[in-house]
Assembly symmetry: D3
Homo-oligomer: 136 residues x 6
Amino acid sequence: MPISRFVEYEDASPEVRAVYDDIMESRDVDWINNFWKALAQHPPTLKRTWESLKEVMAPGALDPLVKEMLYLAVSMANTCDYCINSHTAAARKAGMSDDMLHELRAVVGMASETNALVEAYKVELDERLYRAARKT
Amino acid sequence: MPISRFVEYEDASPEVRAVYDDIMESRDVDWINNFWKALAQHPPTLKRTWESLKEVMAPGALDPLVKEMLYLAVSMANTCDYCINSHTAAARKAGMSDDMLHELRAVVGMASETNALVEAYKVELDERLYRAARKT
Amino acid sequence: MPISRFVEYEDASPEVRAVYDDIMESRDVDWINNFWKALAQHPPTLKRTWESLKEVMAPGALDPLVKEMLYLAVSMANTCDYCINSHTAAARKAGMSDDMLHELRAVVGMASETNALVEAYKVELDERLYRAARKT
Amino acid sequence: MPISRFVEYEDASPEVRAVYDDIMESRDVDWINNFWKALAQHPPTLKRTWESLKEVMAPGALDPLVKEMLYLAVSMANTCDYCINSHTAAARKAGMSDDMLHELRAVVGMASETNALVEAYKVELDERLYRAARKT
Amino acid sequence: MPISRFVEYEDASPEVRAVYDDIMESRDVDWINNFWKALAQHPPTLKRTWESLKEVMAPGALDPLVKEMLYLAVSMANTCDYCINSHTAAARKAGMSDDMLHELRAVVGMASETNALVEAYKVELDERLYRAARKT
Amino acid sequence: MPISRFVEYEDASPEVRAVYDDIMESRDVDWINNFWKALAQHPPTLKRTWESLKEVMAPGALDPLVKEMLYLAVSMANTCDYCINSHTAAARKAGMSDDMLHELRAVVGMASETNALVEAYKVELDERLYRAARKT
């Protein structure tokens, strides 16, 4: 029993339609997924989030597939169901194979275990690692 | 005022030394970082964690640099300080540039925002995305 | 498939009924929501939680609507589905409009992003902000 | 031993200075706090984050003080130290009194307890609360 | 609409069957629960996780029931639905009564509140508690 | 640079002193730790939290040591530094040995890994586990 109400294309204001059109064109798809239809209840949040997302996920120093896998890994760490499903789909579209997905899950699981152990043991940072992290 | 106590190589049992030797050889380094020295207080946890980690991070369908970046992204999502520092160092060693780190942080920040929005709006999963995530 | 079992009014002990009566009178409603019926399996937890909640949410330096919105924002940050739904209902009853809800969600999303960026960049606290936070 | 490196005004590019100038003017302050100086290592993230934040925190249906308190409550729920300190300072500047801060903390604490109890008891959503949350 | 696909015993490779047989024998059950059938899509993760879990949950300084209750408490704190259900079942099997479960939930709820208050008030560690935690 | 300000016994109001006296008597100690001195800035929160804690941690179906270890495990899962330190001290006082602490940390680490894997694989709940969790 979710509480979102979705704004469909046919009911959308010109401002919302312009964002929907940009989403469909940028992603080369012919439909809008529920995340955007939920945000469209508040057009400024829709526009700001889409423009931020488009900028962050654009080609850069990181490969688009790597960016999609990072996004998915963070969604798993935050246990967001919709996000895990939608970004699994997006990463598959960007080229993630089944084997890559299984390894990604193994890394997320392992990181969660060692993260928890570091917190449980309250490990102090090594001087050497600190310098390596800063590259100085 | 952390509460870890570290087991140094010279004070370690043969069982712990064997793990330390394997860590140094596998990673081609000549020192042991504090995480392992803290776990060495409980040798079964040291051995099990190192062996799991070595297996998970071994070459596979994912590139080693991509694995390190996924590990770092999860550590940021879990806000584990030691982990962020140590895996920033590890990812740099595996080839992550400054630009790649900045983009990785932007993806983590953006994923945190959209994950929160999905939860706040309680977005329902799209049937199409569900099928795409399952590839059926 | 949730695992709660609910204690209905007609099956409740006098101790539990006394809490149920106080909830209905304090909130001016004629029914008990599932949260309380689940806690009633352990009457000391029911009584203690209701009395704490009643005290914390009572009129004080903060406006009741602001308190409800803070409760809702924390529930979103903790991604607790039942809590988001029930406190959305409570905040609406206390006067929250649709526009206020949309802005609240935008703040929660934005705070999640900047929180993640602060952790990712491991930002040190400014001396000036520290003093301002302490007001000295 | 944080790993941020800060970009000071005197070392900043014109693009970064333009954002710094806008921050100082919008907030009527004569200095830049470390969060922005850390983001300035990656100018696109600095610019995008500041513009999003400015838009989200602008006057709207919610009072600016309420927005600041919501931001602070989310930061407490996310246990982000820098964020708690900086948004405590911001909320005080916007008019939050000591009593208001103490009540806010009590609400955050209480919400964390009841959120945990809801999860522990796996409480099902009431049909009535669902309808009230949707206002139908 | 979950995205796991399960590997049934009859379709499993000899490597996966060996793990399934060990799970059923170690736990004295005649079926495999979905967690393992999902991991079996990636046999190295199945084997590593089962072997780690078996080792961690084996008799030791802590009583098996206490270990199961600690596992359940962490799953509640992490708000993992499947985990809460499966470890409630496991802890019941190990001897947890209804009263013990209710008290466990009360402790998890209380810890969540005081954890949140500690973060909200940013409490400094007492020198005495630090020494007591280290036993020196 | 924490932002708490502590209320010392000598500066405390009679209302706060009464709580401090009860804490010292109940725990058989002659000092007050910082958590309570921080809460004492808001006497109703001090009183309510102490009374809840005293009730929750009182002898019941669970052994006091088990309760302390559950509290500690939740604090580790929530990564609350002060809480981990103070509840490690409390659990030691209640009889937790070094070996018990190491095993507790191993359970917390392992639970975090399998919790993350459950979320990553989006595992569906087994009908049998659901019935076992409900005991029907």
